[in-house]
Symmetry: C3
Subunit: 346 residues, 3 copies
């Protein structure tokens, strides 16, 4: 079993306390047991950790404890994520193609890849080294899954779509469904515009359960390297999402939206088509964007405004019922009390 000293070496931490204490597992502070490593980002959480039987606590460099062995780093959450990987490596299925899978003869499946039961792999498809295609996945013709990418059970990838390396795609995700593109004829019928583009997803992308990413009308819907998408998001056709972007659950992007690197869209945000959201912008939950967002700004509301302006308006709105009374009082004082009832034209 590794000791605190071993772990300090793994994560390059400064150790205070007992270097020989053994560490058995990782855990949250709530529920920590003897031998666990936990992390605490501030003094309040460290005090909570001190009340548990945890063996060691990962903390920022400015904290100290007379009760617990500490492992100090610049970023305890990142260090802790490393430890979780080490103590709890993911189950990996054995390489090979399950006997029940339906795999096209010309599909190129790496020898180290795993294809699960009832998976369907259509002609011209490529699956990279150590990739995992979960049970019941459907990979359309000429699609590509990169090295070390894991598709959980029941993912659908339409024809000609590509996923990069080291990705993680959760169950129920649909990649490459048609964009919502129609031309209205004079009688008001919606004629389908066939969607002949594809979806291209970079490396290190995670996609949450039941999210849907539409293929481009022409060209590609793009998801940049390192971007993380939560459950039940909708990505419309021809969106171009940058690198290391976060899309929280149930975000909806209409067509042809461009999102800069490191932007964050929080839960249930909706974005009008053809807008540009700048790099490092933050869009607060349930906001509805109807205009472009400059780099590094924070927006809120439906329709969304820069956060400060929106919050000033909300604060003013709280005072509005009282303001109506104040104005009535003034009108009475001025003898213009009946003005409202008469509704004079002005």
């Amino acid at each position: 079993m590794p000791t605190a000293r071993d772990i300090a070496a793994w994560i390059q931490a400064e150790l205070t306390g007992d270097p020989d204490i053994e560490v058995r597992d990782v855990n949250a502070i709530d529920g920590a047991r003897a031998g666990d490593a936990v992390y605490a980002l501030d003094a309040r959480r460290l005090a909570a950790a001190e009340q548990t039987p945890a063996a060691v606590v990962l903390v920022p460099r400015n904290l100290a404890s007379s009760l617990k062995t500490l492992l100090k780093t610049d970023d305890p959450r990142v260090a802790f994520a490393t430890l979780v990987d080490r103590f709890r490596p993911p189950d990996k299925p054995l390489p090979g193609i399950h006997a029940s899978a339906s795999v096209a003869r010309d599909a190129r499946i790496a020898k180290t890849a795993s294809v699960g039961p009832f998976a369907v792999v259509e002609p011209g498809t490529q699956v990279g080294e150590r990739a995992v295609i979960g049970a019941g996945c459907a990979l359309g013709a000429r699609s590509v899954v990169g090295d070390d990418t894991v598709l959980s059970a029941r993912v659908a990838v339409y024809h000609d779509c590509r996923i990069g390396a080291r990705g993680l795609v959760h169950s129920g995700v649909v990649i490459g469904s048609d964009g919502f593109g129609f031309a209205q004829d004079p009688s008001g019928r919606h004629m389908k515009i066939r969607q002949i583009g594809n979806v291209e997803i970079g490396d290190d992308v995670e996609i949450g359960a039941n999210t849907a990413i539409d293929r481009a009308t022409f060209g590609s819907t793009l998801i940049g390297d390192g971007t993380k998408i939560d459950n039940l998001c909708h990505i419309g056709h021809n969106c171009r999402i940058g690198k290391h972007v976060l899309l929280a659950a149930q975000v909806g992007l209409s067509g042809s939206i461009e999102i800069g690197d490191h932007a964050i869209l929080l839960g249930q945000v909706g974005v009008k088509d053809h807008l540009r959201i700048g790099a490092r912008a933050i869009i607060l939950p349930q906001s509805g964007l109807s205009q472009d967002v400059p780099d590094g700004t924070v927006w809120f509301g439906s329709p969304a405004l820069p956060r400060m302006q929106r919050e000033r308006e909300f604060a003013a709105l709280h005072r509005l019922p009282e303001l109506l009374k104040r104005v009535s009082r003034i009108e009475r004082k001025l003898g213009t009390d009946g003005a409202e009832k008469e509704r004079p034209t002005e």
Copy 2:
């Protein structure tokens, strides 16, 4: 065929009218045919029922009719639900494991359970008595499905997740996908924090189509007994949802939210992480919660406020365009008309 008298005995109703009239089926008032049992909660609906050929009407105790045979109970909707079950018992597949299913040797499947075509059951899994695993479901390693629980076609349950007894899980549901947990490194990359907890679902829980419930980072995401979740909901990691809660369609819960028993969240509500929603609270549609909600209160808006306050603000907002004119009028009267244009600092 049962008579009105038989049915009165089944549902312990008071009968007025013809006890010998035969009842063939259950139906809604719109569309009722001869021989049908329908229900009406008020005099207006009873009058509508009287215009149909329905045989009997389930009503509250205070209603009367000279035209129809009535079955009076304290709660006609509950009584009617019982009748629907009686007249239209659900199709149940035959027990047994379909020849095409892929079932791990050590999975413990009850003899009375049914496992459909192309279902995948991984090692260490348990499936209870009379449970139904629909076509194309995927049950991860060491997962548990309780007695009498029905999984419709194409449900995905990740490893180590547990579903109680008498549940109903609709198609496309994903249980146990990873929580959306990342640690940002100094360069702005999002490092995955592996999610090593699980999902634990109580008894008598119904989960709507394409809903996704994430596993906990550590510990368990919990869904209490009797809770009903509609379609396309997102339940984040480490949420603890009480008993007999209702979540309407497209509700989104961030991580670590606690919801008290009997609370109701209506359609498209979104909730910030780590909040507590009290027992019997009601959150109106599309609300966005950014603060804790006390027991038994009703909230509305985005951001949500107590309903009365929010409605007062909305009502005041309707009067705001007129208020702007009233204030301009006052300013003109006072000779301070230009004040706004000058925008003096104050």
Copy 3:
């Protein structure tokens, strides 16, 4: 390879420029290559098209170019959709039932239909001429799929539901899951009301990825001919949606909503149960409808109001922080400055 003259004949366009120029493919203006046909709806886009190597440009009748061969029609988008179909006909799988599919003996599958690997077709089901049932689809007992309708991979259709002709249903769609109907018993438990109706979908309907359409409690949830539904929508039980309606992504409809022909609901709109939305009405994104909408009107906001009223209120809200200052100024001038702090009852 067809010439501009050939294409003008196909789409009945007026040709200006070189009738003999050969057209190889269709494309968007961004990314157009030599030999491509593109379309431009206005002078600005035509100028952009003139900078590309595209062979021909489909334009409205009022545009002209000295640089490019033009094909002029009343509706270039509709004409272009026709061309896309012509140049890029969809891949169609070969007719026949895949050896791995699980098809009930009494299912009636047209000889020209295609049933993919691991599809499940339960007893009494009908699949029409040239229909495609994708990999891993599950068709419940007595369901019907019309002629030329395509179900992508992993669609679930519950028992007794019907889809018309020439439809397109994307991956992960669920048709016929139970409506969210419960009766609360005196102890606050939610008793399920079994949902014994079905879903009936007209002809020429497209349904986006991971959308869920609930069956009716009694009778039918109805989707009219020509209606197009985007990804991740929720359609509650007993909704009656008209013809040629557009529902954008993540729209949520509670139960028993009626929508008139040609109405448009934009992204993330939510609608309260039992409302009626008139024909040709337009509901702007993220709106929350809590009242009926007359034919041909435009609504916005949560709660939604007629667009003009809602925009007047939003515009007034922008002026509210300044208005608070103006009223304070008036109060100071009138010597009633302390009024707000005293909060007198009135």
